[in-house]
């Protein structure tokens, strides 16, 4: 069996590879480099690593200054702090002048586990999605995470990258290429579509298996890019399968579900269901316990698919 790797580990390794290829890449961290896995880059490229201390706002605007001088800064901390402590800095210092800064956030979502609600970011995608010009990437496994790092570096302008803490099942081959704005059709089906991102893509595949065992064939779409959203893939899914269930380890407000719904409502209205964290905070617990409590299991997706199909005309 292939070893499970957390997307944050893949991020750390990809960063070192990228650093070898591109001397303009610099990395900033806010006293979490061992957890965000930027420590590997710091070790190999100490002169290009800037420890900023527990000062996320300062880290963010400093990266903006570095970017004006041709550097490609990656700034890292936990997702809750990488989008919450510095929202205005991201907005005014980085996104307004469309500077080439990559916000690489780890420990996203409730699978952070025991640290509890203060550390469980379920709002970050919504916050980043609303900023004009910000690209939002949410890789589904280790290979996807590495591909996301290279895709982010290859595009000029701000990119938000969402990584998780927990080891993830393998979905993509090691040579995975991420094309920004393109969803992946991971499974074919005609009765409904599950549109998933990040941690939930593996769960969606599991749900599709359960449904298949009951004779229901559903399409599974993976969204490594949440913004710009792949409208074509969504419209095709709506037209060809007639119902869509979104699945994300994030609030159902403002994340992938909202992005998909914005396309569906405008171009091809079909019944939709939203699997994600309802309007509530997280709490301490084991990741699996929390996934169950917050309705993020394969069974939850299966139930949502059945509801969506039942609503079809």
């Amino acid at each position: 069996m292939i070893q499970k790797i957390a997307t944050r580990d893949a991020y750390g390794q990809a960063l070192v590879k990228l650093g070898r290829e591109n001397p303009n890449v610099v990395v900033l961290d806010a006293d979490l480099s061992k957890s965000t896995k930027t420590a590997g880059f710091a070790k190999e490229f100490p002169e290009r690593f800037f420890q900023m201390g527990i000062a996320e706002a300062d880290m963010t605007s400093t990266a903006a200054g570095l970017a004006t001088c041709g550097k490609i800064p990656f700034i890292s901390t936990f997702a809750c702090f990488a989008t919450g402590r510095n929202f205005d800095q991201l907005r005014v210092s980085i996104a307004y002048p469309h500077l080439n800064v990559k916000i690489a956030a780890t420990h996203a979502g409730i699978t952070v586990g025991e640290d509890g609600a203060s550390h469980q970011s379920i709002e970050d995608v919504a916050l980043m999605r609303v900023i004009p010009g910000m690209i939002v990437l949410s890789p589904a496994d280790a290979a996807d995470a590495e591909a996301a790092v290279f895709a982010a570096a290859a595009v000029e302008g701000p990119v938000y990258l969402r990584f998780g803490r927990e080891p993830m099942p393998v979905i993509f081959p090691p040579e995975r290429k991420l094309i920004i704005g393109k969803a992946d059709r991971l499974k074919e089906g005609t009765e409904a579509t599950i549109a998933a991102t990040g941690v939930m893509t593996a769960v969606a595949l599991e749900a599709a298996e359960i449904l298949a065992s009951r004779g229901r064939m559903v399409r599974v779409l993976n969204f490594s890019t949440i913004k710009p959203i792949d409208g074509e893939a969504i419209v095709a899914a709506a037209r060809e399968t007639g119902a869509i269930v979104t699945a994300e380890e994030h609030s159902i407000i403002g994340g992938l579900g909202s992005a998909v719904a914005e396309v569906v409502v405008k171009h091809y209205p079909v019944p939709m269901e939203f699997v994600g964290v309802q309007d509530r905070f997280g709490q301490s617990g084991k990741p699996a316990e929390l996934m169950k409590e917050y309705g993020l299991t394969a069974e939850d997706i299966v139930a949502a698919v059945e509801r969506a199909i039942a609503r079809k005309r």
Partner: protein
């Protein structure tokens, strides 16, 4: 600095003040007080000290100036126009739809503007980033940044103050426009924001105090900043908000109110520009 050189700077500053009054009157809104208090600082930097090429604003080796207190955009725009980054006639388009001169500085729209600001407290960090890049690239450009005395109530300023010291950013010189006024009143009334000299010193900065309207004093301070190795320098510039227009001086009400046509006429007459 010879008397003649000082006279030339003084005349330049007077013209910049005139532009500020005219552009604000034309716009009908904007911030005169904090623009006027910083005129000598910007005049000194752009016409006596900084290295730049208005025909090539992105020249990698240029010195950089960050207006962290972005609401003072008029003084920056007037100075950049005088320095040749764009025509002086553009100044009266300030704040108009489609203008390159936005209400607050936009580095993508205005040649010579180094950082988009307007949300207070972020410019020192950005300047630090530029100074870090200069060190990394072994370039000898210098980075200047102007902070407001109300602005330093923002916590991020103190995060950045630590960063500049930690990374020994001796290629960075900050100015504090110490005019003692913010929007809701005097600095000391709004928030016990006292002794910036002692505070920056205790953070590890080299701190100097000067009369912010005296070119020779500014030159001595900037020379000393440039000669100071291993730490950043903060030049606390004692200034008068609204400087140069008698009825605006030290008046909290002139922070963010544009002069009406007759007030502008009076101001220009005082400046000898009517």
């Amino acid at each position: 600095m010879t008397d003649q050189e000082r006279a030339a700077l003084t005349d330049r500053a007077r013209r910049i003040r005139g532009h500020i009054i005219k552009m604000l009157a034309a716009a009908g809104s904007g911030h005169p007080g904090g623009s006027l208090s910083a005129v000598e600082i910007l005049t000194f930097l752009y016409f006596r000290r900084m290295r730049y090429d208005p025909k090539n604003p992105q020249w990698p080796d240029r010195d950089r100036f960050v207006l962290s207190k972005g609401h003072a955009a008029p003084v920056l725009y007037a100075t950049l126009a005088e320095a040749g980054f764009f025509p002086v006639e553009t100044l009266t388009t300030l704040r108009r739809f489609g203008s390159i001169l936005q209400g607050h500085p936009d580095m993508k729209k205005t040649p010579g503007v180094e950082m988009s600001t307007g949300s207070l407290g972020q410019g020192l960090s950005a300047a630090n980033g530029m100074a870090l890049a200069g060190k990394l690239d072994k370039k000898d450009y210098r980075v200047y940044v102007l902070l407001g005395d109300g602005e330093i109530e923002e916590g991020q300023i103190w995060e950045a103050a630590m960063t500049a010291v930690h990374y020994k950013l001796d290629n960075l010189t900050a100015f504090l426009d110490y005019n003692h006024l913010q929007i809701d009143g005097r600095i000391e009334e709004v928030k016990s924001n006292t002794d910036p000299v002692g505070r920056f010193r205790s953070f590890g900065w080299h701190v100097l105090e000067v009369d912010g309207h005296d070119f020779a004093a500014l030159e001595r301070a900037v020379d000393e900043a440039q000669a100071t190795k291993g730490k950043p320098t903060m030049i606390v510039a004692h200034t008068v908000k609204g400087k140069g227009v008698s009825f605006m001086e030290n008046q909290v009400g002139w922070h963010g109110t544009a002069p009406k046509p007759e007030e502008a006429q009076k101001a220009l007459a005082e400046l000898g520009l009517a």
